[in-house]
Amino acid sequence: MSDPTRDWTQGSEGIAYQACPACASVWYFHRTFCPRCGDPRPQTRQAAGTGTVHAITVVTRAPTEELRAHAPYAIALVDADEGFRLMGHAAQELRIGERVRVRFIDFAGRPVPRFERTQD
């Protein structure tokens, strides 16, 4: 579990992000270069899984028959404490500005991040 590159998009429980050694910017979508300064040596790091709710919606009309059984489900944009923004599932009662922590749930056969309220 110490692999910093582990990531839910690859089927393992974790959230990886990247940081630039040259300009210090951080981002979420994996690349082989820094999208801000072009540096070719981005570092992949593991996020703590904590952050703040930036936006949230409860989806009632799911896009596929397979996902219909899961609806309604909430999707949030969360500002991770490391400084990048990511999309994940969320507890439906969450409000913008609330502090959250991630756990991983099975959604349509794969692990996805789900954010829940924390007290910290």
Partner: protein
Amino acid sequence: MSYLTGVGLTPFGKLPGRTTLDLMSDAATLALADAQLERKDVDGLLVGYSTTFSHLMLSTVFVEHYGLNPTYAHAVQLGGATGFGMAMLAHHLVASGAARNVLVVAGENRLTGQSRDAAVQALAQVGSPVYEVPLGPTIPAYYGLVASRYMHKQGTTEADLAELAVLMRRHALMHPGAQFKEAITAESVLASKPIATPLKLLDCCPVSDGGAAFVIGKDPTNGYRVRIAGTGQAHTHQHVTAAPSLTQFGAGPSAARAQEAAGISLGDVEYAAIYDSFTITLTILLEEIGLAARGQAGRLARDGHFNHDGKLPLNTHGGLLSYGHCGCGGAMAHLVETHLQMTGRAGPRQVRKAGVALLHGDGGVLSSHVSLVLRNNA
């Protein structure tokens, strides 16, 4: 310098049996007739894409099908901004001398040519296939996220959003080609079934069949003198997760560039055609461009400001929300209606004055922005 010389628009809604090429052809024929041109006069062709008929070379498919022989042709893909993007490109092609008469055309049987699930899934693919789509979002969910943040910051309410749906329906009832024929109220919008909070069914544009076309040329070809006076774009991101902000988008800079190019200011605008995929889209675009103060779009709509006989008539055909949305042709209907208004041909919807019009389209999740300023030199 270029002129919008002719426009064509089919009814939107359920048009069973009409294919993408049928709808493109119908619209093209209407636009050429309006411009008083024949097929042989078309030396430039720009087409949108179709989700029910994806092809690597839709422009040359249409060249062959419709019987054209242009010296310049290709397709353009910019989501909901495609139509105005093509208008901007046609303007520059004409200005540069690369073409004399550019036919711009799009059509799609988006409603009857596929299942509703297929349409919803195809559109959700504007999201990231790795970081977003596996979570089960839809286009309304992406916009629901934007809405939650924007409303949190500006204090906009769901009742404010509802006023824009009511306004678009009020206008659609005056257009025989509109998809929706029944009046709605703010109460019925608020009571419509939830889709992705805070957006409900009547906050969302429908899926439609339809086609739209126009001709942009170097010289007037008929009695009309509607000129493309200025254009602008801005592109800041693709995916909502990567948007620099959910309360500031590219619409402001894009519209400012078009106004600067045209040498006008907002106070000169007499007619507005603004992309309205969702009530929140229209709200944000109106407020960011400056046609409404922040947080005031719903109130202005309720007070009649954007009515066809109001201070700033807006989307008098009913917009995407009520005329309908067939893909690339959706926003092109806004441009067609603008031309009808500027040339005094809008019948019961005719506005008092439309000498200067501002048009704005967006694609993706407020990702791509294109603005146009039209002027009537008649």
